[in-house]
Every structure is written in structure tokens, then in C-alpha cells.
Symmetry: C2
Subunit: 283 residues, 2 copies
């Protein structure tokens, strides 16, 4: 099945894009984790989302989610780890699954943390962003799980049902990992290292031997996701129509640059879909 | 009094800009007619304003208005008819009043109708966009009032209290003009003509002699408003930061181009204020 539009990301830009793709009757697929990201949820009081005065981040997140759900829009909870253009269409990889689409809208957000040293280098060689995609590769083995957001805690728990031993590094407060084979490490790794494949996680004053590392986070670096995508000052380079340098690929929200604002992101999700639809009608 | 930011226009882009200017603690002035424009009010059902599913245009308009009012934001109901840059600051004219600001954000919408032939040529020479500004000039005289939007009906009525004879041309249904000295004309003028000053309004098959013509509408042509403003394909030319070709002048919403969407407009109002604040801090 080839989709007209694939939307990657579930923040305000992604929700807005999904709503617009639905209204414009496009065959689309929306990759997004359920729930509200920590980043949105942490916002205490948002006063400038026009039409919703004085909402908390969590309220805004749920309001946007509910809007999409009220229209019967479904999200696919796969983490896209690579997007490739071949023959005028895009292939999106999520572990060993793949999806095809004529256009792609990247709503990736911005990374709060920089990638760990070695993370991008070893991606696909022992580093994975997707528990459901790659978890099975580590049955009975020893892994590390860097969990950037409480939303992904259930994925860490899931990995504990597969691997023999799991070092979990939660990057948030009030973590709650119950699996008996989990060992919590409250230190930030300084490096993921290895030879052909990952074999250890390094800390400032120690290291642990592992067979693989899962980095569970909501924002994946655009340059890692899409080879050849033009990046400027750390953001995806787009024009007023939100076209990237790759024909048929668009971007919206924080990943296109400052200001990092909900309203700006939602507006861009709207525009990106209109540009994608225009692109589809030109083909 | 010199303002940091002057916002012109009360549609979704203008409201969003006003909200953001308030939050960012800028000294700003917001020119906007009260109430919801006919164009917004005419929208039957808006499904893609993320966070407000299934609102009518009128509901969305009032929701945005209420958001601004809940923050104590006041609007100035003057119609700006000219913006001039002098010595690194802007002077905004509303009839015989003027206002000064370091930056200007144009949220002008788009004109549904093209200007009437002669309208822009005779602006300030018998053609006026502002009843409260220029009404006094026509005490005891004969005028024509082209009323593009029911929102401006009270201005037409006000002009009837000043002029001796008023030809009113309503461009909408269910008009209600009660003044005894008003004569309703249900034809569209083809031209406003005259010599040094306006002296007649021309129709396809007739003409009337007048001393002046008021054109009451919510969107004034940007090129008429700001001399030297760069226009492309009928829209104000802006970059991703919503900067126009004039330093310190920004634009947001429909006036910057398609898609004509509430969400896009609100997002741009947000971004334009951030760009204006950045500009102010650089000065």
C-alpha cells in the first residue's frame, strides 16, 4: 500500500498535519507515539495558543489528541528510523517493517539532548531507537536502555521481557521500572562504543558490557533519519511552503527552527499538508 | 508615545500577534475593528483549527476575541490608512490622528473584492476608508458609502448623521440602514471619478454626483497602505521570519499568501511578534 502522505511525529505540528490530511481526503499514515510528550507535558501554563487561553501543556496535548481522535484519525505507534527516496517515492523503515508514501512530512521536534557519542555511528549496529522493531534481536542478551521520556517507559518494560539483563537509564524524575531483571543506572552515559557492533556503554568513571543499546526518545536527528536532507544551524532548511531540499519532503514545527512555539508548529503542520497536496496534484 | 509594536488587523493573525506581544511585555498598540469579520463569520464549519474541533467561523472569531480580552488586551478601533517610515520608525495615520511605533506587523487579510476603479487613485482626494476619521469633512454634503461588510454598517449610519444625503451601497445580504437621508443602491459602482477631487460615482448605466466616497472594508490593499512594500503575486513578500522588504516591518496571515487558513494565520502572528522582538533587541 502506497500512501499519499506519511506524517512523522505527534507534537502540535504532527497533529495539525494529520487533521488537515484527513480533511483533504488524502490516504495518509501518521507515525506518532500515543500520549503527550514530556516536553509538552512539562509546560506549566501556555498563554499564547490562540483560542485556548491558559492551558497547561498536558491539557493542550490532550486537547490536540482528542481533536484528532474525534475525527477518527488513527496513529501508528512505530518509530521511523530511516526514510529513503527511491524512484520518486519514499520508503520509511521501522525496524524490519517498511512503508511507502509519495510525500513525507517531518514533524520531528527538536532534540533536548544531543546524541550520545557513538549513538548515531552505531545506529543499526547495536544501537536501536525502536523497542518493538528490534527487541526480538536481543532475546536472552544483555542490553542498555536509555529512556529519555516517561512515555517510553512501557517500551523499556517490554524490553525487560525479552532480554536477560537490562540496564535502564531514565532521563526523567519519578521513573517506575518494575521488572526484576532491570538495573537502574542514574548516570548519563558518555559514550556508546564497540568494534563492528556495540559492546559497551561508557560512563565517566565506569563502563558496562552490553550486546545492544536502545535509545528511546521522541525526537530523532533529522540528518540521521534522512540522508541528504539539508540542515542549517541545526534545523531542517525549509522555504515558506515548508519544502525541504528533497522534492516531496516537507517539514513542520520545531524541527524547522525557532521560535519553538505550539502555535507556530500547528500553523506549519497546516501549511505543510497544503503544500504536499499541491505537490501531489502536480505529479 | 512611541510603541514597540503596532499591529494592524483583527483576524486570527492579528489576535495571535496581540496575545504574543502582551505575553512578551511589549508596549504595543493593536488596530482592529471589534467583532468578527464577515469573512470569518461566513465560514460554516472549521474542522482544522487544531484544538477547537468543529467550530463555526463565528465561534472561532469570538473565541479568539475572548482570549485577547481575557488578557486585558484592548483594541483601538481606528482604520489605519497609511504607514510611513521616517528615521527608523514608523508613523501610522488614521485620518487626522497619527501613531508612532518602532515596528509594524501587517495582518491585513486579503481583499475579497478588487479595488473599485479610481478608488486608490482618489484616496485622500475624496475617497476615504475611515468614517470616524473623515466623516466631519462632509457635514451637510452628499456622499456615497460603499459598505463591504455588515460590521461597518454602524459607520454608514454614523455618516448619515453628518452628511445631508448618503447613497449607501451594501455588499452583503440583510442590510439594515435606517437613516431617513440614506438611499440604498443595489448596484456595484464601476468607477469613482472626478478631477482634482472626486465628483461622481459611475455605474454601468447611470452615475450620481457626490462630494466624497467612503469605502468601508476590512482589508486595505497593502501597496496602498505602505509605499515601497514589496508585493509578489498579490501578496506581501515575506521570508520565513515574516520580515518584509522594509526593516522593522513584518506581515502575517492571509496577506502573506496562500493557504488562506486560520491556523496558518495564527501561527504566523506568533512568529511575526517573535521576529519583531528580536529586531527590537538588535537595535
Amino acid at each position: 500500500m502506497e500512501y499519499d502522505i506519511a506524517i512523522i511525529g505527534g507534537g502540535p505540528a504532527g497533529v495539525s498535519a494529520a487533521i488537515n490530511a484527513k480533511i483533504l481526503n488524502k490516504k495518509f499514515i501518521w507515525f506518532s507515539s500515543r500520549g503527550v510528550s514530556q516536553k509538552v507535558a512539562r509546560a506549566e501554563l501556555i498563554k499564547n495558543y490562540a483560542g485556548l487561553p491558559d492551558v497547561t501543556g498536558a491539557e493542550l496535548g490532550w486537547t490536540l489528541n482528542n481533536h484528532a481522535e474525534s475525527m477518527g484519525i488513527e496513529r501508528v505507534e512505530e518509530v521511523i528510523t530511516g526514510v529513503y527516496e527511491t524512484g520518486g517515492k519514499f520508503t520509511l523503515l521501522a525496524g524490519n517493517k517498511d512503508f511507502e508514501a509519495k510525500t513525507v512530512i517531518l514533524c520531528l521536534g527538536v532534540q533536548a539532548q544531543k546524541p550520545i557519542k557513538g549513538e548515531e555511528e552505531f545506529l543499526g549496529r547495536g544501537v536501536s531507537y525502536c523497542a518493538t522493531c528490534d527487541g526480538n534481536l536481543y532475546k536472552g542478551k544483555t542490553i542498555a536502555v536509555v529512556c529519555m521520556d516517561k512515555n517510553f517507559e512501557h517500551e523499556a518494560e517490554y524490553l525487560c521481557t525479552l532480554a536477560q539483563k537490562v540496564y535502564v537509564m531514565p532521563f526523567y524524575k519519578n521513573y517506575r521500572i518494575t521488572a526484576k531483571n532491570a538495573e537502574i543506572i542514574l548516570k548519563a552515559p558518555t559514550e556508546i562504543s564497540g568494534g563492528l557492533k556495540v559492546n559497551e556503554v561508557v560512563f565517566k568513571d565506569s563502563k558496562i558490557a552490553v550486546d545492544g543499546v536502545f535509545v528511546l526518545k521522541s525526537a530523532i536527528s533529522p540528518a540521521t533519519l534522512v540522508h541528504g536532507l539539508k540542515i542549517e544551524d541545526g534545523h531542517i532548511s525549509v522555504n515558506r511552503k515548508l519544502e525541504t531540499n528533497i522534492g516531496g519532503m516537507f517539514a513542520a514545527g520545531d524541527c524547522t527552527g525557532r521560535p519553538y512555539q505550539y502555535m507556530k508548529a500547528a500553523g506549519e503542520g497546516n501549511v505543510a499538508v497544503h503544500s504536499a497536496v499541491e505537490y501531489l496534484s502536480r505529479r
